[in-house]
């Protein structure tokens, strides 16, 4: 497998202020191979790739493309060299079709020849096995289809060096398999591919070679066939790491939140949740699986009092005095069941319901990006205490505790949270929510974008809360993790519950099927289990 060298980066260094994001990194990428770029958060993977795609300019070092020394000053230069990057966040115009998005910004002279474009798109699609309809509007597309458009867009421009930044974060297992098949086709065609991912099993599955970065430094590369996830993790972290999620048996299980016929419509009147019913129990982790945008956000927000729910919906909170054994018509017992529908977040906390919520949008909802750690701790407690002034002493202490216990990397507790890296932002948020001694802890994509080490910290925190008797609701995207971490897994598809599977019966394939099984009539779940 002696392949030509497509890209060679030599002693490339990039500094942001005092932070060295890349420290004299050497990287080689060959034609006809898929290279995995692996590293913890903040290890400099994206920075390195951004220098290749012209977004950043290296402070030092030299980049060679096809053996020639080049200077990449802008994304356009990168395109001219045949380098294309598919970013985590898609950059598509919603009201345009796939074909229109693909040619957007090409500045080709003459008339816009839709037929010729469609033909060329079709040709690319057939060559690599993409499933794409050139005339479909982007707003009609699933996440996976949008990603396809992004990849075809890059190929259309003649790229033969492709960089994919965490492409699988938003895909179902089936879609991921499809993507990998396409990637293998491109590889066979002689293209050079780089994939950035945190999921080790995907690294093992798709790549030929793995390059590891740690704290901005290049650690080394290994052939995928000669390594395993444990070895890779050790390389990445720099020491041996335990790669098991502990899932102790649930204890003190009691019903905590019962959801009945929950229906939520968005402002256009389109149902985002239809007739969702389930019970979350204290002392267990309820996992919620589904393609992103299947109603997970609305579900958690409805419980938190942030969504308007349709009539007939019930969210019943059963407090600690509630007796599960009492008959349904026991009036005394009913007093301990509280309806949360129609209550604002403030009402809910005033009712004494300790509801913690780690939302998907950390800086846009869970935290105030421009405030420091102390003021962000204050967010949940600023109303406590008498008088018109906010008490910052306790939040300050809490900030110090969180920084200490969760090993948050920050210059000080007076640093604005937007200046922290993704993993540290998440630790601050999770730390604050757990400090509230919740009875219900909801989290959405708590480990999205986090490295292995931080992810395991978060998993352990969830399990710790479960053992305390907290009802943990965990919305996740990595099915392997859901299967290991959760006691039960609820699957959402198109705003409907397509199944609630206990851990013992759950398989990755079964869940994956449920995730795409939109139920029109009756129960699709029963068929899928066979």
């Amino acid at each position: 497998m002696e392949a030509a060298c497509a890209v060679l980066m030599k002693r490339v260094t990039k500094q942001f202020g005092k932070v060295v994001a890349n420290d004299a990194v050497d990287l080689e990428l060959r034609r006809g191979e898929i290279l995995s770029l692996l590293g913890e958060n903040g290890s400099g993977k994206t920075t390195l790739m951004n220098m290749l795609s012209g977004i950043y300019y290296p402070d030092e070092g030299q980049i060679y493309v096809n053996g020639k020394a080049v200077t990449i000053r802008s994304p356009k230069d990168a395109f001219d060299l045949g380098i294309g990057m598919i970013h985590q966040h898609f950059k598509l115009v919603d009201v345009f079709t796939a074909a229109e998005n693909i040619v957007l910004g090409l500045n080709e002279g003459g008339k816009l020849d839709r037929k010729a474009i469609a033909l060329k798109v079709k040709e690319i699609a057939d060559r690599y096995g993409f499933d794409i309809n050139p005339n479909q509007k982007v707003y009609d597309m699933t996440v996976s289809q949008k990603q396809t458009v992004e990849i075809v867009k890059v190929l259309y421009r003649g790229a033969d060096i492709l960089i994919l930044d965490e492409p699988t974060a938003v895909l179902t297992p089936q879609e991921t398999d499809k993507l990998f098949a396409v990637m293998r086709n491109m590889k066979a065609d002689g293209k050079a591919l780089v994939i950035i991912t945190h999921k080790l099993h995907e690294v093992m599955d798709v790549s030929d070679r793995v390059a590891v970065l740690r704290k901005g430094k290049y650690i080394g590369d290994v052939w995928t066939c000669e390594t395993n996830p444990q070895k890779l993790t050790d390389m990445m972290v720099g020491r041996a790491v335990e790669l098991n999620i502990d899932c102790p048996k649930a204890v003190k299980v009691t019903e905590r939140i019962e959801i009945q016929h929950l229906t939520v419509k968005d402002k256009d009147g389109i149902p985002r949740l239809s007739d969702v019913s389930f019970t979350a129990r204290g002392g267990e982790i309820l996992g919620i699986a589904g393609i992103s945008g299947s109603g997970q956000k609305q579900l958690l927000e409805a419980i938190a009092g942030l969504q308007v729910c349709e009539p007939g919906s019930h969210i019943l909170y059963k407090d600690e005095q509630w007796n599960p054994g009492a008959p349904a018509d026991n009036l005394e017992n009913r007093k301990h069941v509280h309806e949360l529908i129609g209550k604002s977040p403030l009402d809910i906390s005033k009712m004494g319901v300790a509801l913690s919520f780690v939302p998907e949008d950390r800086l846009g909802m869970g935290l105030v990006a421009n405030m420091d750690l102390t003021d962000n701790m204050l967010l949940r407690s600023y109303l406590t205490g008498r008088g018109i002034f906010a008490d910052r002493k306790k939040p300050k202490k809490l900030a110090e505790t969180v920084v200490d216990e969760l090993e948050v990397v920050t210059p000080s507790i007076n640093t604005q949270v937007r200046k922290l890296s993704g993993g540290n932002v998440q630790k601050v948020l999770v730390g604050r929510e757990i400090s509230m001694d919740p009875t219900v802890l909801m989290s959405a994509y708590a480990v999205r974008g986090l490295d292995i080490n931080t992810s395991y910290t978060i998993y352990n925190l969830m399990t710790e809360q479960k053992l305390k008797g907290v009802a943990v609701i965990y919305v996740g995207e990595d099915l392997d993790v859901l299967l290991e971490l959760c006691d039960r897994i609820l699957v959402l598809c198109g705003g409907q519950v397509t199944g609630i599977v206990p851990r013992e019966e759950a398989t990755k394939e079964g869940i994956g099927l449920l995730m795409t099984q939109f139920r029109k009539e009756g129960q699709a779940y029963e068929q899928s289990r066979s």
Binding site: V70, T71, R73, L81, A369, D375, F389, A390
Partner: protein, 366 residues
């Protein structure tokens, strides 16, 4: 290869974001900007009008602080500017672009003038001052409240709304002027209660404007504390940063919008009270005189820190008074001073770029 391999040289200048800068260094950059502004203005003055820049600066200083009377007028006007900027601070901190200070000042002024005219004979001045303060607070507050309510309820654009409210206020003022004009036909109100001085700010320690200074400085200090330490101030910051986070934290976003806009308008209303009762003793459509807009610059330059606003209020007033002086002394028109103001603001605003970004040149070795 089919793709053309581009041969590029390294770009000459890199701009990169700074990660934290020491306070001393950032103030040094600002100081350098000020010096640069003075040098550029000096060159411009010399090349256009062939006057010694030092002489011109000296004349400007004399115009602003040359005599005790001039100094007090400068102080009075700087206090007025500060008052408006303090009023804008909570709204802007909430990212509510209140450009309706002009109108809020005018309605505060109308309310004040009405009290002076209708109650001047029946109430003793101290009681009258209290009544005028309250009435101007309510008038300005309501003027701010209206766009606040619309934004909170229906999500209207506050920029257009507050701007339009200015024109309504100007028309109301025209109406009031024509109703109260003395002598009839002059189309001006004239000095109200010129002989009785009812509703005028009293002379304290021999100065007519002591009360202006006391009121405005008190407001500046209270606003600083309110924004920085109070629960409501915290709510304002959260809403300004992210409405979603505010809702998540259980903050009633609508209530915060409405409450804060009342407060913002109310303080601008007090500015109207100061303009009528504490300085001109008359009302016209020029009572606000564009200061509602200039104060936006003051508020922004100070980054909503009310203490820094004091500095910028004085700077702008100094430039304005100095401009009038050099215009009359050297037979220049106001444009020269406007140029100086422009150069100064350009340099100060430009310095923020160098505080936030680092500029480095091409490496020598390549």
């Amino acid at each position: 290869m089919s793709s053309p391999v581009a041969e590029h040289s390294e770009p000459l200048i890199h701009v990169s974001k700074r990660v934290g800068i020491s306070r001393g260094k950032s103030w040094a950059i600002r100081g350098a900007a000020l010096v640069l502004a003075l040098v550029i203005s000096g060159l411009v003055i010399f090349s256009i009008v062939h006057l010694s820049p030092l002489k011109v600066y000296g004349a400007m200083f004399e115009g602003a602080f040359g005599t005790s009377r001039r100094a007090w007028v400068t102080i009075r006007d700087a206090m007025m500017m500060l008052c408006i900027a303090v009023g804008l601070a909570p709204a802007f901190k909430m990212r509510f672009w209140n450009i309706g200070a002009e109108g809020q000042i005018l309605v505060g002024g109308i309310a004040t003038a009405a009290c002076m005219i209708y109650l001047g004979g029946s109430l003793p001045t101290p009681a009258l001052l209290v009544v005028m303060l309250i009435v101007s607070v309510i008038a300005g507050g309501v003027w701010g409240l209206i766009p606040g309510v619309f934004k909170a309820r229906w999500g209207t654009n506050e920029t257009l709304f507050t701007l339009m409210m200015n024109y309504v206020a100007i028309q109301l003022t025209s109406y009031a002027v024509s109703k109260w004009e003395t002598p009839v036909g002059s189309n001006s109100v004239g000095i109200i209660n010129q002989t009785s001085r009812a509703g005028w700010f009293p002379t304290i320690f021999g100065q007519a404007y002591t009360l202006n200074v006391v009121i405005v400085l008190a407001l500046a200090i209270l606003m600083y504390i309110y924004l920085k330490y109070s629960k409501q101030g915290y709510e304002i910051s959260v809403v300004g940063d992210s409405e979603n986070t505010a809702r998540y934290a259980g903050i009633n976003v609508r209530k915060v919008y409405i409450r804060t806009m009342f407060l913002s308008g109310a303080i601008c209303g007090i500015a109207g009270f100061l303009a009528i009762s504490g300085s001109s003793h008359t009302i016209s459509v020029d009572t606000a005189g564009g200061r509602g807009f200039t104060a936006i610059i003051v508020a922004w330059l100070a980054k909503f820190n009310t203490f820094v606003m004091i500095l910028f209020s004085f700077l702008l007033m100094f430039l304005e008074k100095g401009a009038v002086e050099i215009a009359s002394r050297y037979n220049l028109n106001n444009f020269v001073s406007n140029m100086i103001t422009g150069i100064l603001l350009f340099c100060i605003l430009g310095s923020e770029f160098f505080i936030n970004y680092k500029v480095s040149f091409r490496h020598k070795h390549s």
